[in-house]
Each structure stands twice: as C-alpha cells, then as structure tokens.
C-alpha cells in the first residue's frame, strides 16, 4: 500500500539542506512510517520570524497519490491555520495535490503560506477578520503567539502548561511563571508551590 521506499527517500531528501531551507522531517516515534513530524522556521520579515513550528504529518495508505494530512502542533495566529486545532487550509494539501510533490515541497509551501496569508479563503474566520480590519493588531497577536508558543524555550510549552494546570494551578499564573523560568518545569513548580 504505502510506498515505503519513497517515504524513506523523502526522509533523506527532506533533511539534506535543513540549514538553508529551514525545513526538517523526522519519524514521529521512530518506527511508524505513516506518522511523521515536520518543522519549519518562521520566514524572516514576518510576525513568525524566529519561531520554529512543529507540524504533525500523517500519510494515508494511498500516499503519494493521496495528499499527506498535515496539521500545526505549534499554536499559530494565521488566517489560514486554525488557532484552535492547527488545521490548515492549503490547496496543495487538498485538491491541488500531485504525487510529484513531496513532503518537503509541502512544508516549503506551508512556509510560504506563513509569508503570504490568504485571508479571503480563511481557515480561521476570527483571525482572518482581524487581519482584514486591523492589520496592526493582527501582526501584534501573531508576533505574541510566536513568542509564546514557537520560540525554542517555549517549544513544548503547552504540554508543560497543561501538566501544571492539571495539578490545580491557574493557567495565567502557570504561563507567567513558566515564562519567568524560561520553560523550566521544576523551577516553575517550585515557584508555584512557594508562591
């Protein structure tokens, strides 16, 4: 079913020039060839600059004749990406997919999407509305989200927040403390308990 030899070639090819392309692909859990994890760097000169965005990739059995399923894991403020669940509205991941495209080209397209939002064909109506009505505010929010969720110190921040919130601390306090401790869970816990 799944063309494993092509996926293996793509893994090799995808990471060949990570430094320059800003794109990398890895197996999600080391064994399953249908579940991958990609990253893209935020394009320079955009509110996403400096961020690293993690994308969950699932390959259907018809891959590469059917498009890969991609979704942002890192939270991102963008008209074509759901601020709730990271779902992506991009034609090449839907009806414009071609088997001659690759995971790498798809990730590069996502990177291009970060540079050039298409608010007229939105995935997230709230974000799109803000983009169209108050661009400055949009840039501010997008930058803030990049700082909060996509900076290396905060990669995995959400999981940490979730863990601490589940222990019974209020989310606002948890986020503030984690930011202060640069994402160090143990230090944050200590502070929360003492504070």
């Amino acid at each position: 079913m799944l063309d494993t030899s092509r996926v293996q070639k793509e893994l090799a090819e995808g990471n060949r020039d990570t430094e320059t392309s800003g794109v990398s692909i890895a197996l999600h859990d080391g064994a399953d060839l249908t579940h991958l994890s990609g990253t893209i760097t935020g394009p320079v000169g955009t509110p996403y600059e400096g961020g690293v965005f993690v994308i969950d990739i699932r390959l259907p059995s018809g891959y590469p004749f059917e498009p890969p399923k991609m979704q942002f894991v890192t939270r991102v403020w963008h008209p074509n990406i759901s601020s709730q669940n990271g779902a992506i509205c991009l034609d090449i991941l839907k009806d414009q997919w071609s088997p001659a495209l690759t995971l790498k080209t798809a990730l590069l397209s996502l990177q291009a999407l970060l540079s050039a939002p298409a608010p007229d064909d939105p995935q997230d109506a709230v974000v799109a509305q803000q983009y169209l009505r108050d661009y400055q505010k949009f840039v501010g929010t997008a930058r803030h989200w990049t700082e909060t969720f996509a900076k290396s110190a905060s990669v995995g921040m959400d999981e940490k927040v979730k863990k601490l919130v589940e222990m019974g601390f209020p989310e606002d306090a948890v986020r503030a403390v984690l930011e202060a401790t640069k994402g160090d869970e143990n230090m944050a816990l200590e502070k929360l308990c003492s504070g």
């Binding site: 030899s5 009806d95 001659a100």
Partner: protein
C-alpha cells in the same frame, strides 16, 4: 476532493468566465444559443398551442441516444477544429459539452484555449536517455518502461496506474486529469486511460463521461426516478416544467421534485421542508386505518376515493378525510363541498394569555395537519389509482371486454378515466400545499381558491368512485349488462367534467388567482369557474322527480342527490351552476343533465 471542478483550473481567469455559462442563469434567459438544432416554430402568443407545446418542450434520451449524441458532438468538434477525437473530448468536457462555445473560444483565441485546457500543439518527446528517473517513486527506469502524456514528462507504469486509479476512484474529476508534474497541466485524455486503467476503472471512466454529458449540460438532466436511466432534454423557455419520462415518472424539470403543476417550485420546496420537520407528528396520518365515526370499529382504507362505507352491519357512509357523514358532502344539505376548507375552531370568551398561546399552537398544528392529511391522502390515493390503472390495462380490460361483449377499442374511456384520476389526484395533492401557504388574510383569494378546489375535488371523488366501484358490477356480471352503455356515458361524462374543473383550478392558480380582486368579485369568480358554459341563474327547476327517478337506475343515490342538491336547495350558492347545453335546464354544477339524466 471537494468539488468536481477542474483542479488545475481553479486559478485560471477562464474559470471565472465559466460561471457565466454554468447553470446559474435563470431559465429561459438565454438567447442565440445555436448549439442544438431546435426549431421553435410555435408562436409565443397563442394559447391554443399550450398542450401542443408541452409535448414539444422536451425529449427523452436513452443511454444509447446519449452516447450517440455525445459521439456526434465529439466528431463535429474534432472535424471542425482538425484535432484528435481525444482532444475534442477534453475540450467539450471543459466547456460543458457546448459545441458552439468550444468553436467560439477556439476561434477567438486558440492559444489560450490550448493553455487552459492543457492541449499542446505538438507533442514533446520524452528526454532522450537510457535511464530516466520517475517523478513519483524517484526510482530510475529504462526509458521504454516509462510513459508520458503529450508533454513528455516521464513516469513509470506503476506510478501512472496509481495516479489514474486514484483519480478515477476519487470521482468525475478524473475527466479533467492532468499530467502529474505540478508545473505542467497537460491533459491526460481517454487514450491514456485506456492504456493505463484497469477494466473496472475504464468502465467507471466511461460512465463518468456519459454522466458528464448530461449533468454538465444545462439543457439535460437525469430522470430522478430510482433506477431510471433515461435523461430529459428540455427546451428552455417552455411554458411548463412538467416532464414525463419514458419510465412514466412525471417530474418538474426545474426542481426535479415530482411534477407539481400548478404549484410553483418554491412553495413545493417549502412544503417538503415543512413535512420533514413535522414528520414525527404526522406519522399517524399515514396510517391506513381509522375508527368508524359511528361504530368506532377500525376501518381500513383500501380504495382510492374518499367515500368510505363501514362494514356491515354498521354500513355508515363517511368521508375518510373529515370523518363526517358522506351524505353531508356536496349540496344535499344546502352547503357545498367544504371538506377541503380549514376552519379554525371558533374561540369564544376570554382566554388568559397562556391559554391563548396553547390554543394558537394547537391551531397552527391543527391547520397544518388539515393540509398535510389531504396532501398525503391524495398522494396515496394516486398510488392506488396508478396500480388500478395498470391492472385495468393488463388484465381487467380484457375480462370486461369478454363479459360485456365489447371490443377493447370501445373500452378506452375507462383507461381515460383512470388516467384522469391519476393526474387529478396529483394536482389536487399539490393544491393543498398551495392552500397551506395561501395567506389567511387574503380572504377573497382564499375563498375563490377553496371554491375551485372544492368543485374539483367533489368532481374527482365522483369520478373516482364511479371508476372504482360502479365498474366492479360490470366486471363481475355473468352476461352483458344492458346498462353498460349508460355506464359508459356517465364515466366518460364525469371524466370530461372533472377535467374541466381541474383545468379551471390549474389555470386559476397559475395566474396567481389574479382574477380575484381584493374585493372578491363574484362575477369574476364565475367567469373563471366555467368559461365554457353559460351561467345559469334561473333557479332550481331541474326536475327533482326526474332526477330521483333516474337515480334508481344509476344505482348511485349519493351522486344524483348531490347533483340536484345545489339547484334545488342552495340559492346562496349559485356560482357554480351551469345550464345544460342541450335542454337548457339549470342542472347544478355538473352540466351533465342531458348527458346523463335528461335523455
């Protein structure tokens, strides 16, 4: 895939243009479309051609007709443009099978059309190398193992098969398949499919191609009857949307619901939606049994007409719809047929607010129930009539011909009666959807409408009863019955009279009851009710005794009694009265005095 739209085309300027040609334009608004050779010889202003026009307004196409037309169109384009059959097919599919549009676009800007559709002027050879990398699986193959479309982009056979197979199983979008190279866009036509697809997929592809010819063309639609394979080609601008398929299903070409003339598509859509919303409340209406209003035993309705007679010993005759005594249906008691009207329960005395609300909610459901029950019952009545019609055609007519020593050719009037019943049940059914949406405050219109509907319904009940029950006697007779000619006259007469009533009703609804002004002018009503007969205002001297005398012969007391009823006892209801064309007697509503009773 989200849509059938050509995937590589979504961003073309051309696709904007396509919208202009897609089915969004209102009916009949297209001119100068010469792609089919329809010749509309009929003048627009003549009313007399209406029925003729209806026969001319559409063509039923079988699968082989469709294939033939499609093949002819492809051949035409391929000949005129000097391109291959496959290329002509791609072009036609892109321009929604409009030969004239393909020609127009092509001769206006061939280069652009080629680009948009993905047709190269000259095919490009595959790169000249012993080994070539496949652009999908990234393996290398010797060049003779590779295949390419006209663009020369090589892919290995396994990848081509995967590509084509996935596209075909994705749906009709495969008809617009392009080279897998994302920068290319050259069309992958039927020749490639033949070469690369499995037999099953080839069949699927050819079905999609056939379907596309009907579904993408504004002038054709499939018959919506389940399992039916005919399509209907419609002449835009025709006076009626009703079409009857060769499978005998009648439907509205515009909205593809079953035929609903004289009610418009919007009302029908609203009504169907309403029925869905209320379906749980209404299930009981579809039950086939009700308690007899007199003896309370459950009585099953296994006939088409609404005149029910309880089983012995009760034998109470009642109306299935309102459960009132049948003897009170019609003019016998001085009223006229009123079972079709909804009268909200009169409220008296003061109500507190919550009580009034409850009452209103109850009324609105009651009101809907009234119309829905009549709509649904006429529907099932029509089904029954349809079954009776078929059994008449298939066996009973022969039997009757035998029993009554009549050649079958002399029994056509029975088939005609049944056809009339089937059609009238359909019309009557839809007039109840119409009635439901006719505003309560349009008093004059409502009154006129209910009057016409009541007339038509009463006539239909008599016709249906005559065809259903009275015929039975002659079918069961051991020897030819001398009354049979009388029966013939009566049934044929009822058929023609009922047809007139329904024609009036249909005409009135189709003109939006516009002959009734806000004042509800009765003279107007009169003129519309019976345009072909003289108005009889002379009172009720229609010879009661005479009629009653004949009633014993007819064996249908209810019918004759009802007939004289209006003339003799309903001075306030003279609108519907007609003068018998032969004896000048005022005869009541049926105008049948001579035909049936005066000879």
């Amino acid at each position: 895939m989200d849509s059938e739209d050509d995937m590589h085309d979504a961003h073309d300027v051309e696709s904007l243009d396509d919208d202009f040609y897609s089915g969004d334009t209102p009916m009949g608004s297209e001119d100068g479309d010469a792609e089919y050779d329809f010749v509309d010889n009929e003048s627009e202003d003549s009313e007399d051609v209406t029925s003729h026009r209806q026969q001319q307004s559409y063509t039923i196409l079988s699968v082989s007709d469709i294939r033939q037309r499609q093949e002819e169109d492809i051949h035409r384009v391929s000949t005129v443009l000097s391109i291959s059959r496959v290329a002509a097919c791609v072009l036609l599919r892109h321009y929604k099978w409009s030969v004239s549009r393909v020609h127009d676009e092509w001769f206006a800007d061939e280069e652009n059309v080629r680009k948009v559709v993905g047709l190269l002027e000259k095919p490009v050879e595959m790169p000249n190398a012993r080994e070539l990398p496949c652009g999908i699986c990234f393996e290398s193959y010797s060049s003779n193992e590779m295949t390419a479309a006209a663009c020369g982009h090589p892919f290995c056979s396994a990848c081509w098969r995967g590509y084509v197979g996935t596209a075909i199983s994705d749906g009709p979008g495969c008809l617009m398949l392009r080279c897998p190279d994302p920068s290319c866009g050259v069309a992958v036509g039927e020749d490639m499919i033949r070469m690369l697809a499995s037999d099953e997929d080839k069949q699927k592809y050819s079905r999609y191609l056939l379907r596309s010819y009907i579904e993408d063309n504004r002038k054709t639609k499939w018959c919506p009857a389940p399992g039916c394979e005919f399509a209907v080609e419609f002449v835009m601008g025709s006076s009626s949307y009703d079409v009857t398929c060769n499978c005998s299903y009648s439907f509205c070409w515009n909205c593809t619901e079953e035929a609903h003339r004289p009610v418009d598509c919007a009302t029908v859509a609203k009504w169907i939606l309403k029925n869905c919303a209320e379906s749980e409340n209404m299930n009981w209406i579809l039950a086939n049994s009700k308690p007899c209003p007199k003896c309370k035993r459950p009585i099953e309705k296994n006939q088409g007409c609404m005149h029910i007679t309880c089983t012995p010993p009760c034998k109470f005759e009642f109306c299935w719809l309102c459960l009132g005594a049948w003897s009170e249906h019609g003019e016998r008691t001085g009223g006229f047929y009123a079972c079709n009207r909804y009268e909200a329960a009169k409220q008296e005395g003061a109500y507190d607010e919550s009580e009034r609300r409850r009452e209103m909610a109850k009324n609105s459901l009651e009101r809907y129930t009234h119309y829905y029950e009549r709509w649904a019952t006429n529907q099932s009545s029509r089904q029954k009539a349809l079954a009776d019609l078929h059994s008449m055609q298939n066996e009973k007519l022969e039997k009757l011909s035998d029993r009554q020593s009549q050649p079958e050719s002399q029994l056509k009037f029975i088939i005609e009666a049944w056809l009339q019943i089937v059609e009238c049940r359909r019309v009557l059914k839809w007039t109840y959807a119409y009635g439901y949406y006719l505003l309560e405050n349009e008093y004059a219109k409502r009154q006129f409408f209910e009057y016409l509907q009541g007339e038509a319904e009463a006539g239909l009940e008599r016709l249906h009863q005559c065809a259903e029950k009275e015929l039975q006697v002659y079918l069961e007779a051991e020897a030819p019955t001398k009354d049979f000619n009388y029966f013939r006259t009566k049934l044929a007469g009822l058929t023609s009279v009922t047809r007139n009533y329904f024609e009036n009703l249909v005409r009135a609804l189709e003109t939006g009851l516009r002959d009734v002004g806000p004042s509800g002018n009765q003279a107007n009503a009169n003129k519309n009710t019976s345009p072909k007969s003289l108005l009889g205002g002379k009172g009720g001297k229609s010879g009661k005794a005479k009629v009653i005398g004949t009633s014993s012969r007819s064996g249908d007391e209810a019918w004759t009694m009802a007939t004289i009823g209006l003339a003799s006892t309903a001075p306030t209801r003279t609108r519907g009265r007609q003068t018998c064309a032969r004896c000048a007697n005022s005869t009541g509503r049926f105008g049948l005095c001579c035909l049936l009773l005066c000879d």
